[in-house]
Each structure stands twice: as structure tokens, then as C-alpha cells.
Amino acid sequence: MLSNVKEYFRPKTVEEAFEMMEADREHSIFLSGGTIVALMGSSRIERIIDLKSLRLDSVSIKEDEIVVGATTTVEAFRKDPLMRKEFGDFFYDSFSLVGSWQIRNMATIGGSIAPKLGWSDVSACLLATGAGLMVYGPDGYRRIMLSDYFALPAGEKPLITHIIIKKDGWVSAFEKFSKTTFDIATVNVAISVRPERGRIKAARVVCGSRPQYPMRFETIENALEELEINDVMPSIVRSLVFDNFTGGSNMLASFEYRKHLASVMAQKAAEKIKEMVR
């Protein structure tokens, strides 16, 4: 539990929030949904900067992109009519596996990405949809790919203000393995494909909880190009993931167990995609 908090800020603008953090990064923390902050056992944190006051909690459409405010809750996001219209059941079903109803009512999309948690189902799904981020840092606003955000140096911590998802007609599926319903993923897999005349024209294959942060596997994606979407396709996806999976071991699972699970989850996700495309 936090025990040494002396100041609680409610910034009105993104710029103000970032300046507050920069003023004393060592002793400060951003609070978005609060599910991580409230559980922190730290006497180091003296300043909490509550981002909910920024009111970045809407989902809107801008030309061919969906723009999601970073403090939109996971539950509001998955049930948003715009998200359901543009992405069908993908986010609705996938994010139903994120914690409980109560947790999803609190946890935010931005707050699920920012700590670069290895097991984040939110990050895995967004990576598979090719999502981008609008972030604010020392040089102002800039747009980066979510995959690039994960690769930022440890000291570079811009504030995520929006998540941007293209409406590009890709078909996506997600599978997760966890030991109990609310447990974090032992492994999660998200796959998106762009189908064209019964074949995979392009693919994004993401494995998370490796246990490192979710990442795309370009070797697998390249191998899937032009593959026919038929009954054999899911087992090919499974073999490719098994042969190319990279990750490690931790208390949840060994590398070998993860690799096996990832390949099984990938096959299940590919089965879903096959059914959706047909």
C-alpha cells in the first residue's frame, strides 16, 4: 500500500500533467484507472497525478481512424457502439477476458499500455490491429506506432493521450491461456489478417506474456502471405508459431510450455479467422 503520498494533483491539460511529472519523476506516478497505483507497496511515491481530470475518455471517428481517449475504461471501450460497428466482436469478446467487470470498469486503455506489462491482453490485441498512439513528451505531441512505444528507451516516458486504430478491413482474433479466469495470461495470442480472394494478403501475429511485452513475429507474418485460408491454414499457423516463438521462463511457465501453449492458442485464433472469412 502507498504510505507516503503528500500531494494529489488533478491537472487540467496534458501539458500541465506532463510538467507535473517532469518536476519530480522520481517521486511521482500517473494514476489513470487506479488499479495498479492502489496496489503499489511503495514509500517512494509522494505525488499522484490523476489523469482522469483530463477527460480523455471518449471514442470518436476521424476519417478512416478510430480515436480513443487514453482514460477510456476497458469496459466502455469494448461496449462502445462505434467499436462494435467497426470491429465486430473482436474487442468485445477479447476484452471480456480482461479481469472482472469491476476491474474493467476501472482499468483504462492507456493505463493498460503505459506500464508495458508483458501480459497485457489490451496491448496484444491493439498490436494486432496495428494501433498507433498519440503521445506527449518534451518535444510536444507526436504520433508513434504502439510497437515503437514498447521499444522506447527506459528513460523516455511520454504521456499517452490517445490510441488510434485504423478501420482497414482486417479480420482479427484473440486467444488467451490463464490458470484462473482472472489470472494474468500465461500466454496470449492475437492475429489479424487482410484477406483477399480466399488468401492471406498480409498478417499481424502477436504473442504476449512471453513473459516480456507483446511483440509481432514478422517471420511468421511473412510466411503467411498468400497462404490459402482453408482447413489446413490453422495447423500451419500453429507450426509456424511453435518454430519461431521467442520468449523465456518465469514463475508462470517455462519457455517450452509457453511455446507449446502459444502454438495452440495461435491455431485456435486462426480457426476463428477461418470461420469469419468463410
Partner: protein, 157 residues
């Protein structure tokens, strides 16, 4: 720091600790001990309260977060000494054994019924997915929530 908020229909304007959990604040400062602490980490749902219409785990909320917002706890369910239909149905259907999970179950169920007057069993089960019960099992709890929904729809509240 000073915050303004509403709990169970009553307005408060109080000095609070910046790092105190809402769960502790409700129990220790407002003496509303109906809200229980089970796991203390958002897993069991015993501490569920409703904030601005949403069911949340009060063990994961810091008190300053309720500034300007409305909180409902299990004590806010009864009106003028009369139990809420959910509470009545939990008793009538035998949905309570040790009772420790019951306040959280009731609050998740209320949040559901406030937004969905006629939920399916699947929707009921999703609403209480974050509330663990180790003795009653869930069958009678789902029955009780379905029964209460019927009472509310028929104006028996």
C-alpha cells in the same frame, strides 16, 4: 486534502488522506462496515461499491478519486427500513450462507439491474463474475438476482 462527494445520498465535504483506500475510508472513517475486505487486491469482489453507476472494487480506489462523485454502498440499498428487492430475494432464495460475499454480490447485481431491467442468466453471470462465493455457490445467487429483477419490473419495489 479536502474533497466533496456523496455517499448513499448524503453529501460530505471532508479532509482525507491522499493515499487512503476507499474501502478503508468507508469502514474506518464513515463507519460503513457493510463493505467487506476479502483479498484486498481486486480479485474477490467483497468490497464492491457503485461509483457513478459503475460497480468497482473499493480496495483499488484511492479516496481522492471520489471527489465530485457519488458512491453507493450496501447500506444505501434499504429505504426507510425496508429492504431492497435484491436483499429480499437473496433471503427468500437462500442465496446467503456465511454472508461475507453478499454485500459485494448485491452491489454488482444492483449496478446490473440499474442499467438492464431484464438481464439474461448470462448477463447476470457476467455481472457477478468478479464476486467470489465459497459457500453458497452461484445457482441460488443467480436465481435471486433474476427474481429481484422480476420484482423491480413489476413495481413491487
Amino acid at each position: 486534502m479536502k474533497i466533496d462527494f456523496k455517499v448513499n445520498g448524503r453529501d460530505y465535504s471532508l479532509e482525507v488522506r491522499e493515499d487512503m483506500r476507499l474501502l478503508d475510508f468507508l469502514r474506518e472513517e464513515l463507519k460503513l462496515t457493510g463493505t467487506k475486505e476479502g483479498c484486498g487486491e481486486g480479485e474477490c469482489g467483497a468490497c464492491t461499491v457503485i461509483i457513478d453507476g459503475k460497480a468497482v472494487n473499493s480496495c483499488l480506489v484511492l479516496v481522492p478519486e471520489i471527489d465530485g462523485r457519488e458512491v453507493i454502498t450496501v447500506e444505501g440499498l434499504e429505504r426507510d427500513g425496508r429492504l431492497h428487492p435484491l436483499q429480499e430475494s437473496f433471503i427468500e432464495k437462500g442465496a446467503v450462507q456465511c454472508g461475507f460475499c453478499t454485500p459485494g454480490m448485491l452491489m454488482s447485481a444492483k449496478a446490473l439491474l440499474d442499467g438492464n431491467a431484464d438481464p439474461s442468466d448470462e448477463e447476470i453471470m457476467e455481472a457477478i463474475e468478479g464476486n467470489l462465493c465459497r459457500c453458497t455457490g452461484y445457482y441460488k445467487i443467480v436465481q435471486a438476482i433474476r427474481d429481484a429483477a422480476g420484482k423491480l419490473r413489476n413495481g413491487k419495489a
